[in-house]
Amino acid sequence: MSDATPPETTSIHQSADAHKLLRKRRRRERGFRMMGMSAIVMAMCALTWLLISIVGTGYTAFYQHQMTIDVVLDETVLDPNGTRDPDELRKANFRRIIQNTLYARFPDITDRRARQDLFKTVSASGATDLVRQMVYKTPSLIGQTLTLEVPTSDDVDQLLKGYIDREVSEDRRKLSDQQIKWVDELVASGEVHARFNWAFFTATDSRDPELAGIAGAVAGSFMALLVAFVVAVPIGIGAAVYLEEFAPENLFTDIVEININNLAAVPSIIFGLLGLAVFLNFFGMPRSAPLVGGLVLALMTLPTIIIAARAALRAVSPSIVDGALSLGASKTQAVFHHKVPLAAPGILTGTIIGMAQALGETAPLLMIGMVAFVTEIPTSITEPASALPVQIFLWADSAERAWAERTSAAIIALLVVLLSMNALAIFLRSKLERRW
């Protein structure tokens, strides 16, 4: 028996059994790696698909077709009495002015129905509002002829963006053959052209997609976030420092700790309900206001900030605090002179990520009424406002094709802000992190 395996040449690690086991171990390792890789590939595919579909539908909202028209500010229409009274001017018939402008451009069209169709190629409220603003501001313009760029109607815009099929029979299409002919003529003459859609960033919500923008929602989100930041950051950091450094270890602090961790997992709509019950019904704060939205978001972000801040504090080497204490620093001095500054990058990162989460939150804002149709940019935190994710939610609900591209564009805007916030967090962490 012993002749078959001469003991002096074969180590126990070179036996057949050892090799078999080794192969098995290697196989397991490969298997695990494959699993990890495929998980990452799947995640990347899902993400890419999401981005492509959003950017694919959304990018067209960043340009918009405009029509150049020669507007005759006819005094007999606008100010027949010649008073130049601002109140009268505001109520003047600007619609007629725009209509006349278009009829003058196509003098051959006299039929009433056809003229109505012609008028539908421009954005009625977009064009009239623009002219009304100008005349209201400078009444001396009356009597003159202005060359203006006004937005086309959303249907014309969609047609030119290729979303309305020209091959489809006329009755199943939003634009008639005749309207398409006019548009093509105006495009050929250069009177209709694509422009960067500034209005999307400067305008508020509107019933007309060609006029709708995200400025109001962005302002609302910004204000709510500001309130959340101002409320959540001091409280969160204070709570974290206290719990981590000063709180006695007893049943009470244990319960507090467990509850904070649980709070982080509470669905956000519950925070919305809480805000509704406490801030609106009990304290009687205004509905739909960024103040309340911010407070709700602050409650929601608090656990995130506290947990991140505690982890950051815990990561600071205790030897630094020992050093300070050994010099006769009090506990408070040791913590605030040394530990908190060293934990600051981590706390900041946690805060930014918490804020980014809050920015994307929709459900709690719905609960406290930040879904109102608001056409003004809010100027204070107690005025009704919308928020970017809520705006997306609202637009996504609308049927027209023009809303779909705006929904995606608003999502792109939200994603850009979120990614910038996360990038900022990463940048600050690597920039400020100090070794000790």
């Binding site: 270890e249 080497s317 030897s319 630094i320 020992d322 050093g323 300070a324 204490l325 050994s326 010099l327 006769g328 620093a329 009090s330 506990k331 001095q333 002179h337 040394h338 060293l342 100090r434 070794r435 000790w436």
Partner: protein, 270 residues
């Protein structure tokens, strides 16, 4: 022998005149939660010179060292009992503030732990929090004097605004000593200050300790018996939470009374 440290012989080997006495320690016990780490230590520490604590790892040297500046207070669950007099005053007395005690009793740790701030700010931190200086120039002087005393001035005088953490390990340890000196302590505790240093840095540190010993009462924990022999005038040997032997360093190393000390210094136990 069962009651080791209460054995009068162990402590009475070191007879110090009352006026030479800095610390007077009687029956000090320290426990962490349920576990007692020091089982009643009696020992007197002299006003000047270097006292070394040696003994196998885990025997309670660091624990005992932290008794002198009440750093055990900062460890959750640590309890200290017994009598510790500093210049005749009980440092565990009800009206003693550990913050002031630690200004009098400085400490240097095993791993150099300068603050991640400039060299200047490291040294200036103590004087600032204790309000020791009235003006910026006075603070500058204190910083310079402390760095000179810690034998670091010449190496850093041109880069006081650089990070203290950017210095070499030996320089960091001297910076930490300068930081402690700047508070004008009477005692400096050192817990294995050279264990993270290379031999050259260690030699410089030992030189420095030798220079400081006339001005300060220095207590040093070391796992290196050669170091204890080189820098200290008195040596205490600890074993399993007991003070086994305390005497002039010479005597401990050449003529130990206890067989455990003998075994340890001859390398038979670790």
């Amino acid at each position: 022998m069962v009651t080791l440290s209460s054995d009068p012989q162990a402590a009475s080997d070191m007879q110090l005149a009352p006026e030479d006495l800095k610390f007077h320690v009687r029956n000090v016990r320290v426990s962490y939660g349920e576990k007692e780490a020091l089982h009643g230590v009696d020992l007197d520490i002299a006003k000047t010179g270097v006292t070394a604590f040696i003994g196998p790892s885990g025997c309670g040297k660091s624990t005992f060292l932290r008794v002198f500046n009440r750093m055990n207070d900062t460890i959750p669950g640590a309890r200290v009992s017994g009598e510790v007099l500093l210049d005749g005053e009980d440092i565990y007395g009800p009206d003693v503030d550990p913050v002031l005690l630690r200004a009098r009793v400085g400490m240097v740790f095993q791993k150099p732990n300068p603050f991640p701030k400039s060299i200047y700010d490291n040294v200036a931190y103590g004087p600032r929090i204790h309000g020791l200086t009235k003006s910026a120039t006075e603070l500058d002087e204190v910083v310079e004097k402390s760095l000179r005393r810690a034998a670091l001035w010449d190496e850093v005088k041109d880069r006081l605004n650089e990070q203290g953490t950017g210095l070499s390990g030996g320089q960091q340890q001297r910076l930490v000593i300068a930081r402690a000196i700047a508070v004008q302590p009477e005692v400096i505790l050192m817990d294995e200050p050279a264990s993270a240093l290379d031999p050259i840095a260690t030699a410089r540190l030992e030189e420095l300790i030798d220079e400081l010993k006339d001005r300060y009462c220095i207590i040093i924990v070391t796992h290196s018996m050669a170091q204890a022999a080189r820098v200290s005038q008195r040596t205490a040997f600890f074993h399993l939470g007991h003070l086994v032997e305390y005497d002039a360093t010479n005597t401990v190393f050449t003529n130990p009374t206890d067989s455990r000390t003998q075994d340890y210094i001859t390398g038979r136990t670790g």
